[in-house]
């Protein structure tokens, strides 16, 4: 069976959940081979976790350059391996960086690129990806017709399923960096991970809009999210007004989320907001305007003041979870 290369996303020796999802998807297409690009010593920290999700091989590309240059070391590692092992596919997370790495790998190995798939399967000799486009308005099935399929997979779309394997290690030499063509990372300010689940991974998302009124008032949204064990999101109006940081924006120019439950508080439901959340399983909305378009897609809506309704709901949830 051919190998399927999976680019590993890791922070401080921890593998991101999206990588386990990729390994699970890779098992449907061939033998998952994880590719670790990072500082010296990274692979030994992440190898066991990768094997737990079915990686039978771990390719190790470790050097100082791998950490100090943007994107290109990952492209170099994947392109080198693609030439060496002729994989059935290359799977990369559809994160901002993942999309860039994938694009460059595809063009370097003369192969087609499938962007942001929500599912991937084998069909005869083809690898077929499913895409959910225009904010979930269309479902499209596509395949790569030239070269090795290079595919980015939307985080949270494929379920991560553990499958114990034994992984062998193999070193990959990275080519020297050409400084005229590469971008150096001179310093990093890592995002502080909070106690809440990541927005794109959470099974419950509670979002606040302009109706929340201020940064302080967002505590109302946060308390409900915490009671439900969920993540906090925000509309662009709330972000632009400075109520909540940009990385929590849901919508066309923010995150796309597909949680089991999405609760919209004081959000009108503009088409660009809907584009980021309308694939949620269940949508609940609270808005004081009975005409707000969010009610057109809400499974359950309450016409009322969010400052009355949300705290009461938080209390009810806390009571029931007791």
């Amino acid at each position: 069976m051919s190998e399927v290369l999976v680019l590993v996303e890791h922070v401080d020796g921890e593998v991101k959940k999206a990588t386990f999802e990729l390994l699970s998807a890779a098992r449907r297409l061939g033998e998952p081979a994880a590719v670790v690009v990072g500082a010296v010593g990274t692979a030994s920290k992440v190898k066991d976790a990768l094997a737990r999700y079915g990686a039978t091989k771990v390719y190790v590309a470790e050097s100082d350059d791998a950490v100090n240059y943007l994107v290109t070391p990952k492209v170099d590692a994947l392109a080198t391996l693609a030439g060496r092992v002729s994989p059935a596919a290359v799977l990369i997370s559809a994160s901002l960086e993942g999309k860039e790495v994938a694009g460059r790998v595809a063009v370097r190995i003369d192969s087609g690129l499938l962007v942001d798939v929500v599912d991937v399967e084998r069909s005869g000799d083809d690898v077929v990806g499913t895409q959910s486009i225009f904010g979930g308005g269309f479902v499209v099935k596509s395949k790569v017709s030239t070269g090795t399929p290079v595919i980015t997979v939307r985080p949270g779309a494929v379920e991560a399923e553990a499958a114990e394997a034994v992984a062998t290690e193999e070193t990959v030499e990275l080519p020297a960096v050409d400084p005229a063509r590469a971008t150096r990372i001179t310093s990093r300010e890592p995002a502080v991970a909070g106690d809440r689940p990541e927005l794109t991974e959470a099974s419950v998302v509670v979002s606040g809009g302009r109706g929340v009124g201020s940064a302080e008032n967002f505590a109302v949204v946060e308390r409900l999210a915490d009671a439900l064990g969920g993540a906090v999101g925000a509309s662009r109006a709330a972000v632009d007004s400075g109520y909540y940081p940009h990385q929590f924006q849901v919508g066309q120019t923010g995150k796309t989320v597909s949680p089991q439950l999405y609760i919209a508080l004081g959000i009108s439901g503009a088409i660009q907001h809907r584009a980021g959340m309308q694939t949620a399983k269940t949508i609940v909305a609270v808005n004081k305007d009975a005409e707000a378009p969010i009610f057109e897609i809400a499974d359950f809506g309450v016409v009322g003041d969010l400052f009355q309704v949300a705290p009461q709901l938080t209390e009810e949830v806390t009571k029931r979870r007791g």
Partner: protein, 260 residues
Amino acid sequence: MNIVVLVKLVPDTYSERKLSDTDHTLDRDSADAVLDEINERAVEEALQLKEAHGGEVTALCVGPDRAVDAVRKALQMGADKAVHVSDAALHGSDVITTAKVLAKAVGTIDGVDLVIAGNEASDGRAGAVPAILAELLGLPQLTHANKVTVEGDTITVERATDDGVLHLQATLPALVSVSEKINEPRYPSFKGIMAAKKKPITTLTVADLGLDPAGVGLSGAWTAVLEAAPKPPRTAGERVEDNGDGGTKIAEYLVGQKLI
């Protein structure tokens, strides 16, 4: 500093976006078309850099004839000239082809120090064209920029992603993509709109770029759409007025749905 700014005409997200029934490409006629919002910010950033460092701004667009509107908007905002690659053969091009055509077109412009793009187009959302272009042109990529500074031939950028902020540095010539948060784009002034009418727009075909028309567009694409179907729209569910028990009502609903 000579800057090329990549501008794309996209369906207005306020109107309904569809795929064509025949070949599954974007149905560009069914929706109003606008210069992609993120590209207005790319143009703005190019103009600010020109104002600080001198030079010239060229707007570059690959797209059907009506995409000249995107180019014109950039000229109205203050770009000096434009290149528009328009060719029926391009219909249905995939990401890789689009980037290859853009790379060739950048090559027709002399002495380019900086290429500026948006980080993601609102229709295709590949978020990959700038990176692929950097690969093809052999330029350092400083993408998802929140802030751009140029001093001499050194360019520094603040890149903001979920993982935090990265401070990036490279040597010109280079390629930048800008994020939604980088600036507030200016509106074209009346003077700008009048001046734009006299600014040169070079229109090129695929053959002008030395590319084979059979190698681009739907026939040349390295990806193929097998099937496409609209998803049935969501419908409104139950809606109640809050009579002091709205929160409790939601809780009961969630219990009924086994969500709590």
